[in-house]
Amino acid sequence: MTSVAAHGRPELPATTSRPVRIGSEHDLRSTLGGLSGVDAVGLEARAAKLGTRSLKQDTKRAAIDLAITMVDLTTLEGADTTGKVRALCTKAMRPDASDPSVPPVAAVCVYPDLVDVAVRTLGTSGVNIASVATAFPSGRASLAIKLADVREAVAAGATEIDMVIDRGAFLSGNIGKVFDEIVAVKEACGAAHLKVILETGELVTYDNVRRASWIAMLAGADFIKTSTGKVGVNATIPVTLLMLEAVRDFALETGAVIGVKAAGGIRTTKDALKYLVVVNETAGSRWLSPDFFRFGASSLLNDLLMQRTKQATGSYVRADRFSGD
């Protein structure tokens, strides 16, 4: 049994072992079978309720800075150039050219062929280099190609790999294939952190999101990530809340702390702060760190900088004060 702290949240066990062993697809199915169904109405109501919390003054300032350190500054376009990636990396290290007190972001996120450009630009700045791999965003390629994609990105210097799960296999019930792929990719990652993109917009139901979260965590994900940003429905607060519940439950069960990354469609400071409230109220303050929560975003950073300047100077600022893409 876990003890319940004064604030009503169960305390995390001190161990970091992973006692759940999945030896076969049968093990996986029986573990997932133990998950309860999601109360969709309750989930959405709780997400909406938490969204009404308001952060003010010092709390708001601290939250904006925290959110900046959680950003994976992303460019994933067919039209990406080395120049654009260099500009992105420069911005990642010093988001506001006129204010050195702004902290750097957590990571830049680029396609594998541009990882070496990011490595050269970022140097020893401490900003991580994330790369999408495994035939992002569709994931429709053979396992050999996916693994080669991952190995190439890691060899080029990526410290974090964002992989996509095989949604086709998941939706047709072939969860063993989904699990095995994640295990294989995790092995190919070596020391690099693995973020597993569930693409929740394609998983149809909340129950599927819960199951996919557990499959990813059991298979060795360091992070579970909502979306690629390439489909109609991206990160939403209810889905992120559900995934945070999953990592919390997984930590209570196994002691392993898995991160969550919300990606796609988060553009305003207001939205970002809502996510931080949800993180704190669902998983707990342990997750209020770039080690365990990230925003996959590009335009969000400029809005955070605008609000940060507004908080510092008291007057509203114009959007083109900060560099665009």
């Binding site: 008291g314 007057s315 509203y316 600022v317 114009r318 959007a319």
Partner: protein
């Protein structure tokens, strides 16, 4: 006498083509010149100014990229709608400005004529303030007037109808979008009714935004907002110097003179940038 319950109008703000209440939820009571209840008015706040500037910024492209001829047609349409509401403005001015029916009617007619006058200016500004520059080479060199962007306007505290038209129309005619704060509480009902005129003419949403409230509270927020490119302080009175100082911190162009002449070419020229273009001859 009938025993109908009186239906009095609540004067809400006009932002981005809609009539929202204040984000703050505040209202105040406005009485007419005789001290009788006239209306509950939305008491705008800092965040209402923020929302209005976002709306005005969002509308800049659509308004400035419309042809000058089209802008003229739209402003002429405003005059048409004003004409159809002539009598409503006459009765309103008697209540808010305390003028006689005859003077009110004169004021409304004058304001409609002024609207037509500014509608005519839209496609003539370029000919007056633009031009071809002599250069030593096989090039044309043109100076073309371009709107400077979002203009904040504190309308005059007197003559609420003609004062509004004479400060807002020149900024619109030169292609800017505006955030208007009525200079006095008494000027609010006419300003909001003009918002209704804008909403029912062809002025695109966001081009005219009206934030009602207390000018002394709202003007500094507008002046210090970095995304406001121009500021007309016609109705700001004593606080002009301080507002000008706030505006200077963000390089905002300021007009701080009283409105003396309704046909004010200075205001028409005030919020224009000049773009210079080179073009080769014979190609």
């Amino acid at each position: 006498m009938s025993d109908r319950v009186s239906v009095s109008k609540t004067y809400k703000m006009y932002v981005n083509g809609a009539f929202p209440r204040s984000e703050s939820g505040r209202t105040f009571v406005l009485n007419d010149v005789e001290g009788n209840f006239l209306a509950n008015v939305a008491h705008g706040s800092r965040k209402d100014i923020r929302d209005a500037v976002v709306a005005a910024r969002g509308a800049t492209n659509k308004w400035k990229s419309a042809t000058a001829y089209n802008r003229g047609q739209v402003l002429y349409r405003v005059a048409e709608i004003l004409e159809s509401r002539h009598d409503e403005f006459v009765s309103l001015l008697q209540l808010t400005d305390g003028v006689s029916a005859k003077r009110a009617a004169n004021e409304v007619s004058k304001s409609i004529d002024l609207t037509v006058w500014y509608a005519g200016w839209t496609d003539k500004i370029a000919q007056v303030v633009g031009g071809t520059n002599p250069v030593a080479g096989p090039f044309f060199n043109f100076s073309i007037p371009a709107p400077c962007g979002v203009v904040g306007i504190i309308t005059p505290t007197v003559n609420s109808l003609s004062g509004f038209i004479a400060t807002v129309l020149p900024a619109l005619a030169s292609g800017n979008t505006v955030v208007v704060v009525p200079g006095s509480h008494e000027a609010i009902p006419v300003a909001v009714t003009l918002g209704e005129v804008a909403a029912t003419s062809d002025v695109p949403a966001g081009v005219i935004n009206i934030v009602t409230g207390t000018a002394s509270e709202l003007a500094p927020i507008l002046a210090s907002h970095e995304d406001v490119d121009g500021l007309d302080l016609a109705g700001a009175g004593e606080s002009r110097l301080e507002l000008g100082r706030l505006a200077s911190a963000t390089i905002t162009r300021v007009v701080d003179s009283d409105l003396r002449d309704l046909h004010d070419l200075k205001r028409l020229r005030a919020f224009i940038d000049t773009v210079t273009v080179w073009h080769t001859i014979g190609q």
